[in-house]
C-alpha cells in the first residue's frame, strides 16, 4: 500500500523564509512581508487550478471583503526546496501565515486513492476553498491556534470532548486528523479530509447517501464517529476504483455501469448508491432484480432512477462473474 507520510509544518511554528516569485508585489522575500498576513499555496507545477485565473479569482474575492484585501497570496510549486522546508513536497497545501510570520492555519491535500489518482491532485473547488479559508482565518481569527485539517497532535492530553489526533486510513493513505469525539466519519471525510464525494443526505441513517466501505463492508458514515474507525481501512467514492485495482483514471465497473445505464438524475444519492452496490455484490444475495431491490433498499433516490440503478448493478454483476 502506498504509504504517504504527511509531515507538514505545524501550526504555531515560524514560517521558513524564502524568495518570493516574481509576481509577488515589491517585496523580495517572505520576511519582507512582516506586518502583512500571507496565504501561501503549494501546488504541482503546471497544475491547472493554481494557474493565474485562480489567483485572480482569489484576489477579486478577497478585495470584496473588508479585512481580507491586505492579505497577500503567494502561489508556489510543490517540488522545490521551499516546499521541502514546509514539509509538503508533492502535496497540495495552503498555509495561513500571520503578520508576525507564524503559521496560523493550514490545509493539505489528502489526495485520491493509492495507485489511481495522483495524490497531489486537488480540485479547483478545494483549492479556492482552502485559500479563501486561510484568508478568512487570518482576517477574522487572528489568534486562531488550531488548524481545520491535519493539525498535529498536541502535546498535552485532550480534555473532555476536546479535539484529539485521530488516525485514519482513508483510501489507502494513513492520515491524522484533529477531531472531537463527536465528529462523525461523514463529517471527518467531508469537512476535515476534504473528500466531499461522500454525501450528507438525512444524517440519520435513513437515506444511504453517506455510504462508504469500512473493512470492505458498506456502512453509513453518518452513524459512526470517526474516532471509532481508527485502524480500519476506509474507502470513499474517491478511492473506490483504486480499491478494486483500477489504475489511473479508470472507473470501477459499477461506476462505469451507472454511466451506461443512466443510473442517476440529479446525482446526489449516486456516490452512496455506487458504494452500496459495489459492496453488496460481495454479499450472499440472490441474482434477481428483486434481490437487488431488497439489498439496495437502504439507498433512497428521490429522482426515482431505480430502473437504471438496478440495470447498472445487474450489468456489473454479470461482468464480475465472467
Amino acid at each position: 500500500m502506498d504509504r504517504h507520510v504527511i509531515a507538514p509544518l505545524d501550526i504555531g511554528q515560524t514560517a521558513p523564509d524564502f524568495e518570493l516569485p516574481d509576481n509577488s508585489q515589491t517585496a523580495r522575500r517572505l520576511s519582507d512581508l512582516r506586518g502583512v498576513a500571507v496565504v501561501i499555496a503549494f501546488h504541482p507545477r503546471e497544475w491547472d487550478p493554481a494557474r493565474a485565473e485562480q489567483v485572480e479569482l482569489y484576489k477579486s474575492a478577497a478585495a470584496s471583503v473588508d479585512g481580507m484585501a491586505q492579505i497577500a497570496l503567494v502561489a508556489l510549486s510543490n517540488d522545490d526546496p521551499t516546499a521541502a522546508a514546509y514539509g509538503v513536497t508533492n502535496l497540495s497545501a495552503v498555509f495561513g501565515v500571520d503578520q508576525s510570520g507564524i503559521v496560523r492555519w493550514r490545509h493539505t491535500s489528502l489526495g485520491g486513492a493509492a495507485g489511481s489518482r495522483d495524490p497531489r491532485s486537488w480540485s479547483r473547488r478545494e483549492f479556492v476553498t482552502a485559500v479563501l479559508g486561510a484568508a478568512f482565518a487570518l482576517a477574522f481569527c487572528p489568534t486562531l491556534d488550531d488548524g481545520v485539517a491535519h493539525a498535529a497532535p498536541r502535546s498535552r492530553a485532550a480534555g473532555v470532548g476536546e479535539a484529539r489526533p485521530v488516525r485514519l486510513n482513508i483510501n489507502g493513505h494513513d492520515t491524522t486528523l484533529h477531531l472531537e469525539p463527536r465528529v462523525t466519519l461523514l463529517d471527518a471525510l467531508r469537512e476535515y479530509a476534504g473528500l466531499t464525494g461522500t454525501k450528507k443526505g438525512c444524517d440519520h441513517g435513513q437515506c444511504g447517501a453517506c455510504t462508504v466501505h469500512v473493512d470492505g463492508k458498506r456502512v453509513l458514515s453518518c452513524l459512526t464517529f470517526a474516532v471509532m474507525q481508527q485502524g480500519k481501512p476506509i474507502v470513499s467514492i474517491e478511492g473506490l476504483a483504486a480499491s478494486a485495482g483500477a489504475s489511473g483514471d479508470a472507473l470501477h465497473p459499477v461506476q462505469q455501469a451507472f454511466i451506461k445505464h443512466d443510473g442517476f438524475q440529479c446525482g446526489y444519492c449516486t456516490p452512496g448508491q455506487i458504494m452500496s452496490a459495489s459492496a453488496m455484490l460481495n454479499e450472499p444475495w440472490g441474482v434477481s432484480d428483486d434481490d437487488v431491490r431488497e439489498a439496495m433498499s437502504g439507498n433512497i433516490c428521490r429522482c426515482g432512477a431505480y430502473p437504471g440503478i438496478v440495470a447498472a448493478i445487474q450489468e456489473a454483476r454479470r461482468g464480475q462473474t465472467q
Binding site: 440519520h204 444511504g208 455510504t211 452513524l223 474516532v227 471509532m228 431491490r293 433498499s297 439507498n299
Partner: protein, 331 residues
C-alpha cells in the same frame, strides 16, 4: 449534539465499572445511540466503546456452537454476520429472517446483536425533545395518547406509554426462549431469560429492560429447539423494505401426525415489548394445523388488544399476519 468524552474499552470489567456512571453510555454499533445523540434525546458525557473488547476476547463478536445444537451469539456480532450464518439459517430460520427484514444492508453491517435488543422506540414523540414523553422525561406526560398514534402499540400499553418496541430480532428471540448473558460492574455474571428481559411500561416507561446501569450484554444464547428449523418471521410494513413493522409474527411449529405438538408464537410492531403469546400457543397445541386453528390462535393472541384512536387497524392486521405466518410455516 453535546460534547462528550470517549474511551475505547480494552477490558470488560473496566468497561462495566466505568459504565456505572449515570451519564455514561456503552456504544457498539452506535446506529441507534448516535442517531438519538444527534436529536439530543441521548446526552451522554462519556461514551465507552465496546468494540475493542474483541481484541482480548474474540468470542464477543463470533457465533459459537453450544452443546445440543444451540448457538451463542456474541453481543458484538453484527446483525449481517448472524443473518447470513449458515448454522443460524439452518437451525433458526426465523432469527435469520428477522435480521434480514430489519434495517438496511449498511446498518446490518454495523449494528450488533446486543445493541439490537436494546434499541429504543421509534415513537416520533420520544424522538422529539419538544414533545412531552414519559419514556424520555419521566413525568412529563405522553404525547402519543392523544396525538397521531397510528404506529403505536395495542398490547402491553399503559396510561403512561403506548410506544412499540422496534426490534424484529427480539420477536424471534422471545419466541425461541433465548437467554441473555450479562456481566456487571462487580465481575458478577447472570443470565436472563429473554421473556423476562424487557419489561412493560407501566408507570415507569423510561425503564425498558431489567438490566442494571453498567451491566454489559456479553452474548445471547439460542437454545436447541429442533422444530425451530420449521420457523418463519413475517413482517408487514408501509413499504416493501427498509421500514419498521406495523405488525410482524415469529412462529415455529412442531407438527406430527397431523397434529401440532408444540408451537411458538410472538408478535412484533404491536406490543410495548417483544410480545410472546402463550395464549396462541395453547390454542395451537394438540390441534390440526388448519385455517380454523390459526384463526383461533390469532383471536387468542389479540384478545387483550387495546386500540388507540388511529391504530385499530393493527388488530386485524396482526391477526392476518399471524394466520399467514402459521400457514406458511406449516406448508
Amino acid at each position: 449534539m453535546i460534547s462528550f468524552d470517549y474511551v475505547a474499552a480494552d477490558d470488560l470489567d473496566a468497561a462495566a465499572r466505568a459504565g456505572t456512571a449515570s451519564t455514561a453510555r456503552f456504544v457498539a454499533g452506535g446506529t441507534t445511540l448516535i442517531d438519538l445523540m444527534k436529536l439530543d434525546v441521548e446526552r451522554p458525557t462519556l461514551l465507552i466503546d465496546l468494540n475493542s473488547l474483541t481484541r482480548r476476547d474474540p468470542s464477543m463478536s463470533t457465533i459459537t456452537d453450544l452443546p445440543g445444537g444451540g448457538l451463542r451469539l456474541g453481543a458484538l456480532a453484527r446483525m449481517g454476520d448472524v443473518a447470513w450464518d449458515e448454522r443460524v439459517r439452518r437451525a433458526f430460520p426465523f432469527v435469520s429472517q428477522s435480521l434480514l427484514l430489519a434495517a438496511s444492508g449498511q446498518l446490518r453491517n454495523v449494528a450488533t446483536i446486543g445493541g439490537n435488543v436494546l434499541q429504543r422506540t421509534r415513537c416520533p414523540y420520544f424522538r422529539d425533545t419538544a414533545a412531552p414523553c414519559n419514556k424520555r422525561e419521566p413525568g412529563s406526560g405522553c404525547s402519543a395518547l392523544h396525538g397521531f398514534n397510528r404506529t403505536h402499540a395495542i398490547l402491553g400499553t399503559s396510561s403512561s406509554c403506548i410506544a412499540t418496541h422496534p426490534s424484529d430480532l427480539a420477536v424471534a428471540l422471545v419466541a425461541l426462549d433465548a437467554t441473555v448473558r450479562v456481566r456487571g460492574a462487580r465481575k458478577n455474571e447472570r443470565t436472563i431469560p429473554f421473556t423476562a428481559f424487557h419489561v412493560l411500561p407501566g408507570s415507569q416507561p423510561s425503564r425498558e429492560t431489567i438490566l442494571q446501569h453498567g451491566e454489559v450484554i456479553t452474548a445471547i444464547d439460542l437454545p436447541p429447539l429442533g422444530f425451530a428449523k420449521r420457523s418463519v418471521y413475517l413482517k408487514v410494513r408501509d413499504r416493501a423494505s427498509y421500514a419498521f413493522a406495523l405488525a410482524s409474527a415469529a412462529v415455529a411449529l412442531d407438527i406430527d401426525g397431523g397434529r401440532i405438538r408444540e408451537a411458538r408464537v410472538a408478535l412484533g410492531g404491536v406490543g410495548t415489548k417483544p410480545w410472546r403469546s402463550t395464549e396462541a400457543e395453547r390454542v395451537l397445541r394438540g390441534r390440526a394445523p388448519n385455517d380454523a386453528t390459526y384463526r383461533a390462535a390469532a383471536e387468542a393472541a389479540l384478545a387483550g388488544a387495546r386500540p388507540q384512536k388511529d391504530n385499530a387497524f393493527k388488530i386485524s392486521l396482526a391477526k392476518r399476519t399471524l394466520v399467514r405466518a402459521l400457514t406458511e410455516v406449516a406448508a
